[in-house]
C-alpha cells in the first residue's frame, strides 16, 4: 500500500473510527483500525476506507486519497489517532512495507508495526434501509433522550435508548429509574418496514447521532431487528451497533395524566440559579424548589454545610409547594427541553414532575417530555 491523503480528512476519519474502539481489547486486533486503499468500489471517489469493529460497534468512513498502490493494513487505532491528530498540516503519505507502516507528513515520520489483516473480523453489512431522517432533528432528539439513560450496567435495559418505529412517527425513550426522557416526531419510514421497537446502547447512539447528524445532512437509519443490528449512515460515515437484548420497562403507565400545579420558567436564569445554589449541595444531594404565587425560591444546603438560596420570577399556577430534585438531573432535564422557556408541572413533592418545552406562543410544545422523580425532602 502506498497512498497520499490530506491531513485533516485523515485525522477526522481516524479519530471518529478510533473513538468507538474498546479501551481494553480482549484481542489486540480489535483495538486496530483498518486502512483499505483502492479496493472500495469508487462510490464518490473515496479511495481510502478507514474502519474499526469490536463485534459490538463498527465504524467505516471514506477519505479521498491518491492511491499509488492499493492494499490493506491494520494498525493500533489509538496510536494512529494520536499520530494523525498531531501531524502538521501537510499531505500525508502512508506506505506499508512488509510488517511496518510508514507515515510521512512534512518533516515528521512515523513507523508503526502492523497487525495481521487475516485475523481481523469481517465488518457486518449495513442492514436493510429503514428510512431517512434530517440530521439535525435526529441528532437533537437522540441528545435529548440519551441524557436520561442509565450509566451503570446493573440493569442492561436501562443503558439503552428505545426506538419505536410506529405509523408515521418515531419515538425515542430512555430512563434510568429516576428520570425518563421521551421524544416523538413525525417520520416516514420505508414502506417495507413494519411497526417495531428496538433497544440501542445509548452511548453508541448518542455518539453516532452527534457525529453523523451535521447541519443539512441526511441520516439513514437501517435495521435488522432479527439479527439485532442497527445501522446509521450519513456524512460519508457508516456505523453499526448491536442492539441490546433486553425488555424495556413498560413506561407509558408512568406518564402522569394530570397535574395540580404548573410553572413556566425561563431556562437560562433557572440553569444559572441551579448551578449557583447547588454549589453548597454536597455531591449533588438536592436542590429545593419552593413555589409561591409569582415566584420560585431555590435553595440548597443546610445548617451543617453552607446554604444558598435564590429567587426567580415564574408564572405559577397552583397551591404553594416545595419540591426537591437532584440538581444534576434537574439541570440535564432543563437543558434537554431546548427551548428558552420550560414548563414544569407536578402534583405532590413525592410524585414525578414533568418538564416540557414551551413554544413561542407560551404554550406547551408537543413532542418532548422529561419525567423527573423528586428526592425526599429532609424531615
Amino acid at each position: 500500500m502506498k497512498i497520499r491523503v490530506e491531513r485533516d480528512g485523515l485525522a477526522d476519519a481516524v479519530a471518529w473510527v478510533a473513538r468507538s474502539l474498546p479501551s481494553r481489547p480482549p484481542v489486540p486486533v480489535l483495538g486496530g483500525v483498518m486502512l483499505d486503499a483502492g479496493s472500495s468500489d469508487g462510490d464518490g471517489g473515496d479511495s481510502l476506507t478507514v474502519s474499526g469493529f469490536d463485534y459490538e460497534v463498527s465504524a467505516t468512513v471514506g477519505v479521498p486519497a491518491t492511491v499509488a498502490d492499493g492494499g490493506k493494513a491494520l494498525v493500533s487505532g489509538r496510536l494512529l489517532a494520536d499520530i494523525t491528530k498531531a501531524l502538521p498540516n501537510h499531505p500525508v503519505e502512508i506506505a506499508v512495507d512488509g510488517s511496518r507502516m510508514t507515515i510521512t507528513c512534512g518533516s515528521a515520520k512515523f513507523s508503526l508495526p502492523t497487525m495481521p489483516v487475516e485475523d481481523y473480523p469481517a465488518l457486518p453489512n449495513m442492514p436493510q434501509l429503514a428510512g431517512e431522517l434530517a440530521g439535525e432533528i435526529f441528532g437533537e432528539a437522540v441528545a435529548q433522550v440519551a441524557v436520561a439513560a442509565g450509566k451503570d450496567d446493573t440493569l442492561p435495559m436501562l443503558t439503552g435508548v428505545r426506538l419505536e418505529i410506529g405509523e408515521g412517527k418515531l419515538t425515542l425513550v430512555a430512563t434510568d429509574r429516576f428520570r425518563l426522557a421521551m421524544r416523538e416526531f413525525a417520520w416516514e419510514p420505508n414502506e417495507t418496514l413494519s411497526e417495531t421497537a428496538v433497544l440501542v446502547p445509548a452511548k453508541t447512539l448518542a455518539d453516532a447521532a452527534k457525529t453523523l447528524g451535521g447541519a443539512g445532512n441526511k441520516v439513514e437509519l437501517s435495521l435488522a431487528a432479527n439479527d439485532g443490528l442497527l445501522g446509521l449512515s450519513g456524512n460519508g460515515r457508516r456505523t453499526t451497533t448491536r442492539l441490546l437484548d433486553a425488555d424495556f420497562p413498560k413506561y407509558r403507565q408512568l406518564l402522569p395524566s394530570e397535574h395540580s400545579a404548573a410553572a413556566i420558567i425561563e431556562v437560562d436564569s433557572l440553569v444559572q440559579a441551579i448551578k449557583r445554589v447547588s454549589l453548597v449541595a454536597e455531591r449533588g444531594t438536592q436542590v429545593r424548589l419552593e413555589f409561591v404565587d409569582g415566584g420560585l425560591r431555590l435553595s440548597a444546603g443546610g445548617d451543617d454545610e453552607g446554604s444558598a438560596e435564590e429567587e426567580l420570577p415564574v408564572e405559577y399556577t397552583g397551591e404553594p409547594v416545595t419540591i426537591a430534585f437532584n440538581p444534576t438531573y434537574l439541570l440535564e432535564g432543563v437543558h434537554a427541553v431546548r427551548t428558552p422557556k420550560a414548563h414544569l408541572s407536578f402534583t405532590t413533592p413525592s410524585r414525578p414532575a414533568l418538564l416540557k418545552p414551551v413554544d413561542d406562543d407560551g404554550g406547551v410544545a408537543p413532542g418532548y417530555l422529561y419525567l423527573l422523580m423528586p428526592v425526599r425532602l429532609p424531615g
Binding site: 474498546p22 446493573t154 422523580m373 428526592v375 425526599r376
Partner: protein, 219 residues
C-alpha cells in the same frame, strides 16, 4: 508483646536518614522481632519502625535495632516510664463481616435476580478442585455456574474459568456457562470474563437483603 513508654530520640540510618527529636513515645517490641515507635496520634501508623527480621541490641541508654541490610534504628533513651511484657497468645485472625458468604446465601435465595425462570441446583456445588459458589439452571434448564465475590478481579475470573473447564467435562452437566457475580467488577476482570463468554453481574447487596433504598424512583 513488650510495651515501653519512654522519653527517647530516634535516628534511622539506612537508605535515608530520619530523625525524631527527644519526646515521650510508646515503643512496641513484638514477638516477631519488629520494633515500632508510636506517638499519641495517627491511629495504627508508627512514626518509625523496623520490620522483621531484625535484632534489638539493648545497651543502657541506647537501643539499636538492626536488620540484615545494615539499616539501623538508633533509639536514645533518656527516661523509661513504663516497661511491661504480655503474652497475647495465638491470634484468631481478622474475621471480615462475611459479606461474601452472605452474598452467596442471599443470591441463592434470590436466584431470579440472575435471570427470569432460573432455579438453584445447590450452593457450594462440588468440583474436583473445590466447590463453586452456586450451581443454577436457567429458564431453559441449562447449567450455569456462579462465582460470587465481593470485589470481582482477574483472580476470580480465573477461578471460575477453572471450575467451568472441569464442570464441562461432565457430560451430564455440559454445557455449563459461567456467571461472575460481584458487588463491583474491575474493568480488566470484566474484559477477561466477557472474552471467555462469562457473563458479569453486579450485585446490589442492600437490594438483595431486601433493604430497598428509600430514594424515590419512577419504578
Amino acid at each position: 508483646m513488650r510495651l515501653v513508654i519512654a522519653r527517647c530520640q530516634v535516628d534511622y540510618v539506612g537508605r535515608l536518614t530520619a530523625h525524631l527529636p527527644m519526646a515521650n513515645r510508646l515503643l512496641l517490641i513484638k514477638a516477631d522481632g519488629s520494633v515500632s515507635i508510636h506517638s499519641d496520634d495517627r491511629a495504627f501508623k508508627p512514626l518509625n519502625w523496623m520490620s522483621p527480621p531484625c535484632w534489638l541490641i539493648e545497651d543502657p541508654g541506647m537501643w539499636i535495632v538492626q536488620n540484615k541490610a545494615g539499616e539501623k534504628l538508633i533509639i536514645t533513651l533518656e527516661e523509661v516510664m513504663h516497661d511491661s511484657k504480655h503474652e497475647l497468645g495465638r491470634e484468631p485472625g481478622l474475621v471480615k463481616d462475611g459479606v461474601e458468604a452472605d452474598l452467596q446465601k442471599l443470591l441463592a435465595e434470590h436466584v431470579h435476580t440472575l435471570g427470569e425462570g432460573w432455579s438453584l441446583v445447590r450452593r457450594e456445588f462440588p468440583t474436583p478442585i473445590g466447590p463453586v459458589d452456586l450451581m443454577c439452571r436457567d429458564h431453559a434448564g441449562a447449567s450455569v455456574a456462579v462465582e460470587i465475590k465481593r470485589r470481582g478481579d482477574i483472580d476470580g475470573v480465573e477461578q471460575l474459568t477453572r471450575y467451568l473447564e472441569l464442570l464441562n467435562r461432565d457430560p451430564l452437566l455440559a454445557p455449563v456457562r459461567g456467571v461472575f457475580a460481584a458487588q463491583q467488577i474491575k474493568p480488566q476482570a470484566r474484559t477477561l470474563a466477557e472474552d471467555r463468554g462469562i457473563r458479569c453481574v453486579v450485585l446490589d447487596y442492600d437490594e438483595l437483603r431486601g433493604i430497598e433504598s428509600d430514594e424515590f424512583r419512577l419504578f
